[in-house]
Homo-oligomer: 348 residues x 4
């Protein structure tokens, strides 16, 4: 049996922090030794997240008061810009799993351009591995610092990468229409996240300017060896969790939707968390993966000649964040990759 | 002051019928003399739709028992296939406003192909006028039978027609990603409309097979004089009302998003119900039109060179159905077009 | 035909302000001449509330910059504590309709006790009339300042007053279990109003401490001539609008649920906005009044001997606030009481 | 380590069946050998519940085609009336966990009175044990047939039983105002469960006639040795899962809310799934238990002298049905009671 490891959670008072705690509560080989939350330091976890009362009464401490002795790994749910500084200050013995955007870009110039300020820990960036588990397993297993992908890039790349790698679609004609639940925007106070501003409606946001676009593009660019620009248009929906990406692609000459489907099914046949639907399977829905680490991908023939529709859906807080973080943790510490992650979707 | 007209509503027990009654309740020149509802004949309206209790106690009758004497116009909220037969049997003195799909296709072959059976009233089809108010005003004013467009086609065409007419976009590269509330699917019992099957999630439906695609296509084809095929991919969302269309278009060489925006703003400058947003206006949302007859259209520059994003949103039961029906009714009887339709959107 | 009056709206950037503007937009005898919103001064109304774009481009000004010349009446949607000072500073020629709690308590000590600070305009309080329209019509018509009731008190009192007046129930054994949509809490930023904190769940709040309890109690006390304490327990629900009160009452000896029902039906037989349901009518629901100024009340026999259940439902932003404000405005200026308020409920 | 047992699920195509499969998927000592679903016989589980695709491709069979050889226990998610006949026909070697109402009433006359027909398996009723785990552990461990309580009775009794047993409250003055999500009503097609009939609103149902009232009453009657009648008024809310009970009680002379709280905290101090909140804890909410087998109970002092408010919340599909069924299964087969049930609540 695997040995127990000690975990310190940074930024435990956000939604990703909370979902990480939820998942780790039934992970047999982990022990949460430490939780930080600067804005809630001194409180009990159950005051900040009453749904975690059953986990036990844990004290939240400030980052500066954290005692990292005996801790094996830091998992950070801090938002971007904040995470880089805090992680840079951690003791050297710690391995790190970061769920922010701070270490996702190999090129710190791209980071600076899209996030509006210079990277504060460029040296650490060099050691970071992009934590898209299904594509960087070996690097992640060895990583000092795993930078978990954004929720949208995870969903997009799991659907697109096998197709782009096999040159089945035109990488310069990709349109990604995304629909997301509200939890992806975190727990911070903003008028546009108030119930009455979200319920009973839908609207796009970040049109042609969302920061997950360059993250998708840089991974596609790695495959084709040239710059890639995609359309990425997210919409905010009245639901808590879940992300649905409808991706409109132009197929290479002679390629059919069946070819695309076959490529996805072959690529993911042995993957425990990604399922490529066969023809005729029930239409994918965010409900089919809610609360779980699973991702569904599917392909449909378009009526427009030469076009196909690729769909991808996952739970933004699990496979899109905390679940993938645990998946990477398992790799980094030699546990079976599915450990603690086989909770089935919650429906209804 | 205009004279009062008498209206008979056919199919009053569906959601479109109910919304028609809601709108007509404050219309100063109309009097509902008759309501039919075969499955609820013998009941009071307030038993079927308690929210309409305040309109007064009206008896629902079967179609076959309806007395059309003294009635000026029949407005039908029956579903497709049912409507054509019932309307064909109406007394000849009646003018008709139909909200079903039955008389929308000039070419009954297209109808037969997409709706799966031969048209039962091809003769009547010849007299029908497509009721997209902003584009067929004169014809509608004279029409014996106005066939109100589908909710999706209304939204799509209001956004696309000015652009296609001015050759600003490539009509063969149009992708329409649509998101709709549940009321568009009516009140009939189906598992996929149960609360628990819709709430807290999203999924596409009718992928590459939705019947509103050919309706959009035939109107675009009229403009360009050749067959048009568009991608049309609707998604079902957890909200009652509202439709949001995100349309991805390729611009003609040399054309910019500003040109598209200018074309829409010019076209709709004088329209009472369609507003083309200026640059920098708040991002459109279904919430901005809920419960009203308004439609918002907007244009955004894409990051992908040569591409733009056209958005269109309306309330599927109002501008997408009953509201547009009243707008057409007003034209047909010489009332001011906005009569009874200036109720502002309900938000939150 | 009535003359047009000029209205100034104070606090136009809150939800009650917005709903007031929505209603007045189709009121034939009113003209909004002025809108104040301190936190949004300098903006257009359409930037703050895009759903009101169709009303026309109105500039929001600061309270201190408001020009009240030519204005007949000020209608205030400011929150409590803020309203009293601003209203006290208004020019003397203005009549006032206030939707806050500031002038609802004849006894300023009760105000001080429950709202935690001394009243800032006790002199003005003396001139205020409690704006529960159905019970204070004559006073309101003459009022300089109408203090519109809270949303919960409106619903509670419309259900209870006829029963208490006729001594049909024990005023000392009243339990009011209330369920409300989120808009009642306004547009201010608070974590507990975030979508993810409200959706897919319910919880009580203000248990045994909600400020609408003393407002209900003081009106009941007026009837019975002694102090009254009621149980009032509100719950926050995942919906935008609507309030449902389930009131558990003990009947006086020999009284039956039928007697209660008869008393309500008799009292409201001629009221345009309050409907007491007859036995066997469809069960009331918030959906039946959404977006409208109507209130439904109903009585059911309990299985517990001697007990009955009184239900009352309304839209908190309309009959519970802005709609009742317009109803009072109509009385104050001699318009037909229903003017501008006959919009039917929006369902679904 | 415990031995693996084989389970047959009857009625796998309903929501309780699905949630049972979800929970058992991570139970280490169970193996689902058989799933029946008469209306979907011949289909794969993943066609009926796509969210369970990841469990593996299981065939659904008709009840009459089920092969019970080698199966240790039947768990039934069939609705009442149907369950009794099917369970009566099972082979004698099977132990049974039933989630319907069919075997909850020791007195078959009460069943007949409330469910409208004679019990079809009165003999089997005699062998049944009421499966309220926290109160009947020893009987359940030995039971041939465990009849799991209804969702509302579970929540009500967990809050009330310690108070009634200690004579702290008046058993003849209990008012239970309940709010429930829609999944409690199952997956069957009914108009009042359609999304548009439930979303954005609330309404009561089964007023003074809901079948869970007698179930609550018979357990309270057992304690006090005389007939008990309670007020039980459920409301349907726009959420998938969760139940919140606000119970208004009259305390015995000299008893305070603190006494009630202390009684609950003492009773549940060692219970793994029921937590009695201490004074000052965050207000309970359905969100705090969603998807989990936990139940929260809490007590508040009322402003009305002599009265207190007892609250209880759980997930109707888990602690209110499938979770409690697994808890009972664990007892019946000698597994640790919490096995497979420590999944933490899903929030947001």
């Amino acid at each position: 049996m695997a040995e127990q490891i000690n975990i310190g959670i940074i930024g435990a008072s956000g939604y990703t922090g909370a979902d990480l705690i939820r998942l780790l509560a039934t992970h047999p080989y982990t022990n949460i030794k430490l939780m930080t939350a600067n804005s809630h330091a001194g409180k009990k976890l159950s005051q900040v997240f009453p749904h975690l009362s059953f986990v036990g009464d844990v004290d939240l401490v400030a980052n500066e008061d954290a005692n990292w002795e005996g801790v094996d790994v830091a998992m950070s749910g801090l938002p971007h810009a904040t995470a880089q500084q805090v992680i840079d200050d951690l003791p050297g013995h710690l391995r790190v799993v970061d769920m922010s955007a701070d270490f996702r870009f190999e090129d710190v110039k791209t980071y600076a351009q899209w996030y509006g300020h210079d990277h504060q820990a460029p040296g650490l960036q060099k050691k970071a591995v992009y934590g898209l588990t299904e594509y960087y397993r070996e690097e992640i297993a060895q990583a000092q610092l795993a930078a978990c992908p954004g929720c949208y890039p995870t969903a997009a790349l799991l659907g697109l990468l096998p197709l782009v790698r096999a040159s089945l679609i035109d990488v310069h004609d990709i349109i990604i229409d995304a629909k997301s639940g509200v939890s992806g925007a975190g727990r911070g106070l903003k008028e546009d996240k108030l119930f009455s501003e979200v319920a009973e409606g839908i609207h796009p946001y970040g049109i042609a300017s969302h920061r997950h676009a360059p993250e998708i593009e840089k991974e596609l660019a790695k495959v084709v060896g040239q710059e890639v620009i995609v359309n990425f248009t997210p919409h905010l929906m009245p639901m808590n969790r879940g992300e649905f990406l409808t991706m409109y692609v132009r197929m290479t000459d002679g390629v059919s939707a069946s070819d695309l489907r076959a490529a996805l099914r072959e690529r993911y046949a042995e993957e425990p968390f990604v399922m490529a639907l066969e023809e005729g399977a029930p239409t994918p829905a965010t409900r089919h993966v809610r609360g779980s680490n699973f991702c569904l991908v599917a392909v449909y023939q378009d009526r427009v000649p030469g076009r196909a529709i690729v769909m991808s859906t996952l739970d933004n807080l699990v496979k899109g964040s905390s679940g993938q973080a645990v998946q990477n943790l398992n790799l980094m510490f030699g546990f079976e990759e599915t450990t603690g992650l086989m909770q089935q979707p919650l429906f209804p």
